[in-house]
Amino acid sequence: MADPALIEKLETIANRLRRHVIKMTHAAGSGHPGGSLSAADMVAALYFHELRVDPRRPDWPDRDRFIMSKGHACPVWYAALAERGYFPVEDLVKLRHVSSHLQGHPDMRKTPGVDMTAGPLGNGLSAGVGMALGARITGRDFRTYVMVGEGDQQEGCTWEAAMMAGFHKLGNLTLLIDYNRSQVDGKSDDILCLDPLADKWRSFNWAVRQIDGHDLGQILDALAWARDVTDAPTAILAHTVKGKGVSFMEDRHEWHGKAPNTGQAIAALAELGEEWQP
């Protein structure tokens, strides 16, 4: 079981990341708060506990890799990178502005700490398989983590990569599934249901563990479990809530790709414990 003090620390950080997401998308006037908020707890656990990274050396060859295949959720990734020290926190409100290094979708050539350009769904896992194979071929011990959403798993390319990772027993590869069951047009259960999702991954020869993706104790335990599995790729199927932490965004697909206006941002931040005025 994870240390309660660590859990509390990560909960505080996750809350801070959520506040950034609201302010960033508000300042940009566009962006994707829903999927960013659902991923916040896992991203906090990765960047403030699990990943072997060094913000002073974003190109360190032995760093663990993280790929956000659901690239539209980059606000929460950028927030974690800034809080971790890759670039100034002040940059965050420049999201989507001209001349900002924070593009609408992640760009590894522009943003320090971004390990893979992403946006068109379904690419992240294949690239992660390449990185995990690269670690094996070069004899390096870094691990590769890929986060996907529903859309990634509706794309065929993800399953090409799933088959390959299972076949090659890539124990240095971990998939985090941000399973909030919501996508642009509505509920994924209504559009193209992914269930039985855990069975799908198991049938591709992955080790699977299901967790509550907002319970940091469960997240930390699952990440520790994934590290210990060496003979298969691991999938952490995290049941999450889109828009988690902001009552009027929770489980509402309308907040997939819409920025809060000023009143909504004030209300959202109040729920997240921050009195804020633009």
């Binding site: 590894m108 350009t117 946006g119 690419n123 294949s126 390449g130 990185m131 071929i137 390959m164």
Partner: protein
């Protein structure tokens, strides 16, 4: 009769030689290693070879991941599949993301002639050429392939290397010294320039010889690098000979002919005739016969050259 030699065998051998001198080279195949002879690399360096199965989108993205692990991936599948099924990955990660991945486009043009139009690649150059940051190299014979492949490994960023499936006429000897990005004048001439790429270079040389008998002094310019195009050499040919013919194993839309027309229309408009397959699909049949039937014979080049010269004189 010119000597014929296998492009596939030359490719397999060149890959092995490259693997010996460059330990960072890894080879990926979407189950085409027996088709394009990359199996020779697998036999020599089994730890640096990955068969991803018949999964071209995965092929490209896995190569991207390997590139960011410090390797130089050479990804192998049929040329038309890179340019169609895996195109989004090529655009996003190779061209936008500048991943250092080399695409080995096998069975290019109509060289897989008997498998028919589903397997011909006659639009791949046009598609790839439209993408920023892409480099496109087409070796003209096995000697060119052997000389250009190591340069592909050293060239920064993505490269589409277009491979012929068949035995082709040997055009060059060891004195041939191509450099990526630089066109080569193979034959001097003042009346018209025949600009060829790939297998069509040999046909341009044959045509130039025939034209000399008609009193037309044709220059032959070999363009093995379609992008970045050697604009200086093309414009020099336009200024000095006043008429151009392009010849390629590709649609007349958007390939070498398109590239030359774009460059020339900007800076030095002269008559240009484009030899290639018209805006249509070909059919199954013997390779050289299909080339001839679909607009890519020596005779087609001759006719185009006469028309280009006449158009210049008529101005």
């Amino acid at each position: 009769m010119t000597e014929l030699a296998s492009m596939r065998k030359a490719y397999g051998q060149a890959l092995v030689e490259l693997g010996k001198v460059n330990p960072d080279v890894v080879v990926l195949s979407a189950d085409v290693s027996n088709s394009d002879h990359s199996y020779m690399f697998e036999e020599a360096f089994p730890d640096r070879f990955v068969n991803v199965g018949i999964a071209e989108q995965c092929l490209v993205d896995v190569a991207v991941g390997l590139a960011y692990s410090g390797k130089i991936p050479f990804a192998n599948t049929f040329a038309f599949l890179f340019a169609t099924r895996a195109l989004e990955m090529v655009r996003t990660h190779l061209c936008y993301g500048k991943a250092n991945v080399k695409l080995m486009g096998a069975y290019a043009g109509i060289s897989d002639s008997f498998d028919g139009p589903t397997h011909h690649a006659i639009t791949d150059v046009a598609i790839m050429r439209s993408l920023p940051n892409m480099t496109i190299v087409i070796p003209g014979d096995p000697v060119a392939l052997e000389k250009l492949l190591p340069q592909v490994a050293d060239w920064p960023g993505p490269v589409f290397f277009r491979l012929n499936r068949n035995e082709v006429p040997v055009l060059f000897d060891d004195s041939y010294a191509p450099r990526i990005g630089e066109a080569i004048t193979l034959r001097p001439g003042n009346d018209v320039t025949l600009i060829g790429t790939g297998l069509m270079v040999g046909r341009c040389l044959e045509a130039a010889e025939a034209l000399s008998g008609e009193g037309i002094d044709a220059r032959v310019l070999e363009v093995h690098t379609i992008k970045p195009l050697d604009v200086d050499s093309v414009l020099g040919a336009a200024r000095e000979t006043g008429a151009l013919v392009t010849a390629e194993e590709h649609s007349v839309i958007g390939g070498l002919g398109g590239a030359v027309a774009e460059a020339v229309s900007d800076a030095c408009p002269v008559p240009i005739k484009r030899v290639g397959i018209a805006d249509e699909f070909a059919e199954t049949g013997p390779y050289f016969e299909i080339l001839d039937r679909y607009g890519m014979s020596v005779e087609h080049i001759l006719v185009a050259a006469r028309q280009a010269v006449a158009a210049r004189q008529g101005r």
